[in-house]
């Protein structure tokens, strides 16, 4: 399996970031970086990562099925993660989630037909002080109102 030179460089650095014999520690970051590049975690990727860090594909599968931020299915170009944990729940996070689902016509861990946007209901993303909060890929949006949500989703749709 071939990756971009940037990703290969990251992998190379990761494999030397841990004490000798502990290369398997690089598994989770490698999967996360590769997921960003490929869009999801394919079986081919599982086998490649297993080979590189010296474990069996089964052991990668164990990690993969444990962590909710690693995805087997392809996500949208923009992955919208709406928090409905306590602080956000108290300030309207649940309504934001319902609104987003209704507007896009998709549910939890689903993507729009054109693959542009995907939705995920997430637990605390560490932005309680600015609740309700959501995250688009790696960007945070704080104190989101329903109107701001609409605008945001529209803007994500427009950038075709």
């Amino acid at each position: 399996m071939t990756f971009s030179p940037e990703l290969e460089a990251k992998f190379a650095r990761l494999l030397t970031s841990y004490p000798p014999g502990r290369q398997r520690s690089a598994m989770v970051p490698m999967l996360l970086y590769a997921q960003d590049e490929i869009g999801s975690i394919t079986q081919e990727l599982v086998e490649e990562v297993a080979r590189r860090v010296g474990v069996t594909p089964m052991q990668v599968e164990e990690v993969l099925s444990y962590y909710s931020m690693l995805h087997r299915k392809p996500l949208g170009k923009y992955h919208v993660q709406i928090c409905t944990n306590i602080s956000c729940l108290l300030t309207g996070g649940e309504q934001l989630w319902q609104r987003a689902c209704g507007k896009l016509g998709i549910g939890h861990k689903e993507a729009t037909a054109d693959g542009q946007i995907s939705l995920e209901e997430v637990e605390c993303i560490g932005a309680c002080s600015w609740a309700p909060a959501l995250q688009v890929n790696y960007d945070f949006h704080h104190k989101v109102t329903p109107e701001q949500l609409d605008q945001l989703l529209d803007s994500l749709r427009k950038t075709h």
Binding site: T56, M58, Q59, E61, E62, S65, Y66
Partner: protein, 693 residues
Amino acid sequence: MPNSVKFTINDRQLEAPAGTLVIEAAKRNGIEIPSFCYYEGLALQAACRMCLVEIEKAPKLMVACTTPVAEGMVVRTESEPVRQARKYMLEFLLSNHPLDCPVCDKGGECELQDMAFRYGVGESRFTEQKIHVDEKQWSPVVFYDMPRCILCFRCVRICNEGMGVNALGVINRGAVSEIAPNHGDHLECDECGMCIDICPVGALTSGTYRYKTRPWEMEHTGTICTHCSNGCKTTLGVRNDQIIRGNNRDRSGINGEFLCVKGRYGFDFQDHPDRLQSPLVRLDGKLEPVSWSKALEVVVQKFQEVKGRSGTVGVIGSNHTTNEENYYLQKFARQVLATNNIDHHRTGDVVTLVDAVSGSPAALATTRDLYEKKAILVIGADLALEQPFLSFQIRANYRHHQAHVYVVTAKPVREDNYAAAFLRAEPGAELSAVESLRDKLKGEPELVILYGDAMKGGAVRKLAAFGASLGIPVQYVPLVDYSNSRGAADMGLTPELLPGYKPLGLTGMTVAEMLAAEDLDLLWVVGANPLKNAKLQAKKAFVVVQEMFLTETAQIADVVLPAASAYEKNGTVTNVCGEVQRLQKAAQTMGAKPDLEIIGLIAKEMGVAREMGPWVPDKVFDEIRRTVRGYDIPVEAIMTGGAAQTMPVNGRIPIEVRVDSIRSAHDNLFTSGTLGRYSKMLNSVLEKRLNRE
């Protein structure tokens, strides 16, 4: 005790080496601390929290399975807080358990059931809907029922660490966690069933045993597996004369609880519908069933006729029959039929080794040595496939004692994964590869060398010389194929050697020579199938076969006598390491007789019963102990179900071994000569594997 610490468990003053875990220290002193995930010999897990104990000065209850004892430690294992904790842990474990004990295979021998009975409450406070997942079949052997699983990870650890197969894992998390096989919906593994046996509950069940019986309805008989040469003890569960289960949960025998797919599931040839249950005699060109007395009459008449005119006789013995049968057969051949034309399918060169190391009494390794010695050298054998228990021992040695393992084979083998060094060498080129390891091996304190059938004759002599030149204690294991291959050689089923490798001075015909001899008048085959891939040249030879099935050899016979299997008789067998162990009769097949009894009856009919002696296994074994070199072993060990090693190394054996007659069949995990062909379970596993390719 050096580095020992003193501590108290339940007001008892105890002492143990520093580093001992509380749970182990308690066990050694007869105090039981319940646990599910802790398992002796496997990595620590601390997942089930059943072993919580009270330790003074610790702020809360501690897990006994990962806490080492310390000086002055005060532990209580049955105090009220501990009993409470166990009760609550069980309530958690049962919160998603289906409680289907009445239909569960494990009911009656289930660790969760026992614990719930002892510490649990009758009611649960959980009212949530239980998560149900349908049962899955992962292979012909392994079934998984997720709701019953308590996630102790024993199966995962025994597969990864014990077997080195890495076929199982745990996927998902929390309440929906489950055990998963390595290939999505199915397993690709050794099918050894270790995961099933080690499961404390009924989450993993076996294809042969499931829903057949309740555990308490079986009689249990500990006997020796009749497949490969490793000589594992398998405890057969028998109900109504039918063998239903094979396992070794009581850890009796040299193998502890280890068994491979053959030892655990390969017993089903025993009640195969094709088993011969009546003697057959060729009448008008066709094999017809006759009575035992009629068949014996025909055999004896022919034996006497051929003997009377000094005709040419050939006798072929078995790798599966007992030492007693082999000894009695060669005695009959030599004394009554007056021939040295007696041989068996030889699968490894034991003779040359025994000669080369004669005089050094510790030169042959036991299966225990493979677990304890500091360094192991494997030459020309894929142990994981062909000698599974030896492979398990070496792997455990590496895990527990960090043994240095060296591998010299033609193809990659499982031992490579943890070997200190591995070299690839074509058959015939092993010795030079071994030579290149000289400096490394010289640095080891001790060494055990295992070699396969690629090494024979002169190569074995050179290997022994190499071993002697290292200047360290070296032990050997000459690998052979079948359950009593070693015993057949020891008992003199060879044309040039008497029992105990006593040289004869003259020699008879080998198997190949018998089959090729055009003037052969009589061929007597006991428990072997030499005509599977060969033709009998003597067209007029009278052929008598003692066999369980109508094999290629039996099909051309003039008389076929139905023989009992190893699970249907008493006697002793000798494993690859020379360890003698006792077979115990577990079941019987109507019409079939043990080979010893058949030979005895022939002797009786011929009027030579007195000179042959009684055909009772214990009596024959007594004669073996008195007369066969190396077999004057402590009888108590064997009679109580243990093993004693034979060490026939006192004296040279001045013969040249005919190396061309030594050839291993290289049976793998799923084949076992004739027996394997009639095992339904082994065949279904094989078919599944072939369908995938």
